[in-house]
Symmetry: C2
Subunit: 244 residues, 2 copies
DNA sequence: TGCAAAAGAAATGTCAGACATTTAAACATC
DNA sequence: GATGTTTAAATGTCTGACATTTCTTTTGCA
């Protein structure tokens, strides 16, 4: 019952540590696969598996050709967003997180941005939000498109805080819960109600009225939680009926 | 100038999508490497590189032996914490995020938890916080240990909100900024000041006084930002001196 | 019969070597 | 000097072999 990790995992950890502590700088080229496999005394295949592990975490990128090789990759906010959203979505779905918990976390985080956003939002942010509200008010909009627009609206609100770290942290919370919100899209949601609240939020942000934004987000949280609850109740009734 | 991703990346994406949409269930065994390499019409090495990519994201785990193979892995909060902290730390260090921005994000997020924590914190959370405060007050404590205890204190505060999703989202914010806070540890920080605020926070949480917790966190944010500013100023003066 | 040891089978882990493809630089030709 | 060709270096892919781990099956012995 040996429980040592793979050689490829060990090597990946070794290189990852070198990147984290700064022994390898951004855009620096790693030695070639041939050299590295000699250094670590493993075959090229094993070493390549280690490099693929690092590539999967966006820690390195590879180029083919004469001057190619593996380079330490600057982790962009874009890449980090993507990873966070995937991880968060899987975490929620794989651990049976109930809607109430996810919803509570999401709005708690978003409300943390509200005061900053009320203070710093630019014309661009307000414009983006109003554009999304217009889209949401269109009658023919599909459920998917409405949901995407909803996400874009809240994304603009968060970005309005002008803090990229905050935007990154929020990406997971907002975009990963989108699938959960889809659960209730087809049943009891009132688009008018949501558009109304969104409009008021945009107004409050325009007026830089932070407390009002906070109150409105609280309203939205309550409304969303209610929808989730009613769907859950409906499901329970449905199950009972089936049992009879 | 072909720009297609590797076969291993394509295959990894294909399997990852199958997991995300639920075609592959948790703990389900994937076909053997031999079967998969036949299905995707690639060699076993290429397929293995794809599997390593997935393993790097904790999406699968592998077992050796007769009944072994690759299994869809339940992503635990623990694993997700770890990934988030690594990603956040790299994101901050690789993009030259200034202390002010990171600090602002961190405290904005933590303050989002404060009302919930004031309401729901248990004896255990309060006990953990008091224990950390005691440790922080010990004279002989090393800077690293003080910093770790500081993180543990805030972690307990966040966990007090009783929302695992929130705790997960905050893990990155709090633990990734620890290295940044170390920057200022050795210079101007007053442990007494911090212990005093921590004590007051614990008192306020005991009394379930949410607004007071919020105010105290704001104080701590201000104090920390000041420290960061003073260190930055000192550095600037130092550079100027060197130029003369 | 019962049980422990040995053999077998199936899977991943590792290695070695070959060939394909891409890319940039060096070279040659006009 | 511009342009096309060759060459070299690197990653990407394939094949086949062997090592190791782990469970199952069989065998052998008391």
């Amino acid at each position: 019952m040996k429980n040592e990790p793979d050689l490829s995992a060990q090597i990946a950890k070794s290189i990852r540590d070198a990147i984290v502590v700064g022994d390898l700088l951004i855009d620096e080229r790693l030695p070639s696969e041939a050299e590295l496999s000699e250094q670590f005394a493993v075959s090229r295949s094993t070493l390549r598996e280690a490099l693929k592990r690092l590539a999967a975490q966006s820690l390195i990128r590879t180029q083919r050709g004469a001057t190619g090789g593996a380079f330490v990759n600057r982790l962009t906010f874009e890449q980090a967003y993507g990873q966070q959203i995937t991880t968060s979505a899987l975490l929620l779905s794989m651990n049976n997180i109930d809607f109430k918990t996810a919803c509570e976390a999401r709005f708690a985080l978003e409300r943390a941005c509200a005061p900053l956003s009320a203070q710093r939002r630019t014309i661009n942010h307000l414009g983006a939000m109003l554009a999304e509200i217009d889209r949401q008010a269109q009658p023919g909009l599909s459920d998917e498109a409405f949901c995407a627009s909803d996400v874009a609206f809240h994304r603009a609100l968060v970005d309005g805080a002008g803090n990229p770290v905050l935007s990154y942290q929020l990406a997971g919370a907002i975009e990963a819960i989108e699938p959960l919100m889809n659960m209730i899209t087809f049943t009891t949601r009132s688009r008018d109600q949501i558009v109304r609240i969104h409009t008021e939020i945009a107004d409050a942000l325009t007026a830089k009225d932070a407390p009002r934004v906070d109150n409105l987000l609280a309203d939205l949280a309550t409304y969303t939680a209610q929808l989730g609850q009613s769907v859950a109740d409906a499901k329970k009734r449905c199950r009972k009926k089936q049992l009879l």
